[in-house]
Symmetry: C2
Subunit: 328 residues, 2 copies
């Protein structure tokens, strides 16, 4: 098998020049570069995987930056990304950002240096959004709309429709006193779901009742305690996501409410735990697997120079289970 | 500052031997290797980061091969690995194997080619075990004991103690008719937990009642249905893990059993969902975070030529929550 020294000898240059050509970074005169490339062809030189990655400027690696791999929505998405990447011969490099902007920026820089083929990111940081806009790699933002970036795409669910579906379903179930544990308004999922809810309230003259709530279980416990204190007569809850619904279930049952007899409840996302849980949760389905698959396909298309759709808003649907019951 | 030549001189070997040792790939006799490692320690030899990367062909990547990132036990472990790797300047490359031996083997080969710094793997395949034994990288097997490999380590919980804790606790709670949804005996966690249970049954003259059960939720539903059919008078269930406990809860409550009034229940693992669930599960805690951290530290120690413990069995403990109740 040919070595880097063989290539250098045939090209009439030093091994370090071969290395610089493969590296693609330092200045090498064009004629020397051509000689090196010819010698590589001639010898059939096959550098190891890492060197080849530098050479081809493709590492067959897709970076995935999620806030927290422990969160079911993110790990279901990561799994879908990994599976789609794998069948296309790509690996994923997983980064857990804990919503830490600095860690996100470091990871983006690192993936740039590694010549990753693209980045799939879930972020809520505007600063990270700016870094994405100036990133040399294709970046697909999932679960958030990105503004001001030419080369990136986003994949998101139709949260606006989701918000409408949720309240309309509780109305169909006969709820008269609905409270919305509303997700963060600075995030498009939170903002859009609220818009959908808001429109239906307007249309039917329903008084809005919201408690602001983050997307994590612990904040769900807090919001649910506030719910019980402020709204004794609640008979319908829209939870900001399924994890919040699970937290709310705990607090409501502890306080003696029966679900769905006293209070009906709907979540968002349709994570796996929404049906492993007892009672099984009624929820608004996000096509999580499809989101992950599509994000990978966009990066593959980018790599192949094929066109891809920049804005991708996927459909959501109502999944009726045991925490709601339609009127007879 | 010490150079590679200083290290070679002190160790009484050639610089290329030092290089091979640091490289960790080629064959170096064990006594020479030890001399080189000692000389590195003695001189405080620190190659600079770039030189070391080229030199060692280190990619600062740790490969993590898990059966299914969606499974809470695995994703909590992956998170711990990622966090420990990150603070040490390493990235993780995550591979989802779906317990597919071929995929595991391909991933190991790929990580070898990439010059990953080590592999952390959860596998149940003997064939993969053989590949690990001949792998050039340090491999840490988590949640399973590995036999016949010189350079690898394993990190596991004390499942034998766990099995004893589980049945002893149900006896303390007054259970007279305990059924064990027993995990797979070909896996050390299943085997050891059963041994612990078996010993206590022997000691107290208790008749063993087992239903074999895999570790996934779907098989938990099947096993729980078999439980209800075969053992009407069950008053205590040891579930093979927390996911199986969650599945069993669904089937038992559907059949009208109240938990813990009619049937008490204990799981294994203490995954996050064991306390998010309502009722909160009594379980045997595995130190998941510690397992992930330790696995990374072993690989870092290996890379630095520092000693590490090959066999690591971590302690487990009883976590009493709402699915069991001690006798007054």
């Amino acid at each position: 098998m040919a070595s880097i020294r063989d290539v250098a000898r045939i090209a009439g240059v030093s091994p370090s020049t071969v290395s610089r050509v493969m590296n693609g970074t330092a200045n090498v005169e064009e004629d020397k570069r051509q000689k090196v490339l010819a010698a590589i062809q001639e010898t059939g030189f096959k550098p190891n995987e890492l060197a080849r990655a530098l050479f081809k400027q493709s590492s067959k690696i897709i970076g995935v930056i999620v806030p927290n791999i422990e969160n079911p929505f993110f790990n279901e998405l990561a799994k879908a990304v990994e599976e789609e990447a794998y069948i296309n011969g790509y690996k994923i490099l997983l980064c857990n950002s804990n919503n830490n902007t600095e860690k996100e920026l470091m990871n983006i820089q690192m993936l740039n240096q590694m010549k990753a083929d693209g980045i799939i990111i879930l972020t809520y940081s505007d600063k990270t959004g700016q870094a994405i806009a100036s990133c040399q790699l294709p970046v697909v933002v999932v679960d958030r709309q990105l503004t001001g970036s030419g080369q990136s795409a986003y994949v998101e669910s139709d949260h606006y429709k989701g918000g409408k579906l949720a309240i309309l379903h509780l109305l169909d179930c006969g709820c008269k006193n609905i409270v919305f544990l509303r997700g963060p308004l600075e995030v498009s999922s939170g903002q859009q779901r609220y818009q959908g809810y808001h429109e239906i309230c307007n249309k039917y003259g329903i008084r809005e009742q919201c408690i602001d709530c983050l997307y994590d279980y612990e904040d769900g416990l807090r919001a649910a305690r506030e719910l019980v204190e402020k709204y004794h007569h609640v008979d319908g809850v829209i939870a900001s996501n399924d994890m919040i619904a699970i937290a709310t279930y705990k607090i409501l049952t502890r306080e003696g409410y029966r679900i769905p007899d006293d209070v009906q409840m709907i979540g968002f996302d349709n994570i796996r735990f929404s049906w492993l849980f007892t009672p099984e949760l009624t929820t608004v389905n996000q096509p999580i697997k499809k989101m992950g698959t599509l994000a990978v396909q966009i990066i593959l298309n980018y790599a192949k120079g094929l066109p891809f759709q920049q804005e991708n808003i996927l459909d959501v649907s109502l999944v009726e289970r045991q925490t709601t019951r339609r009127k007879e």
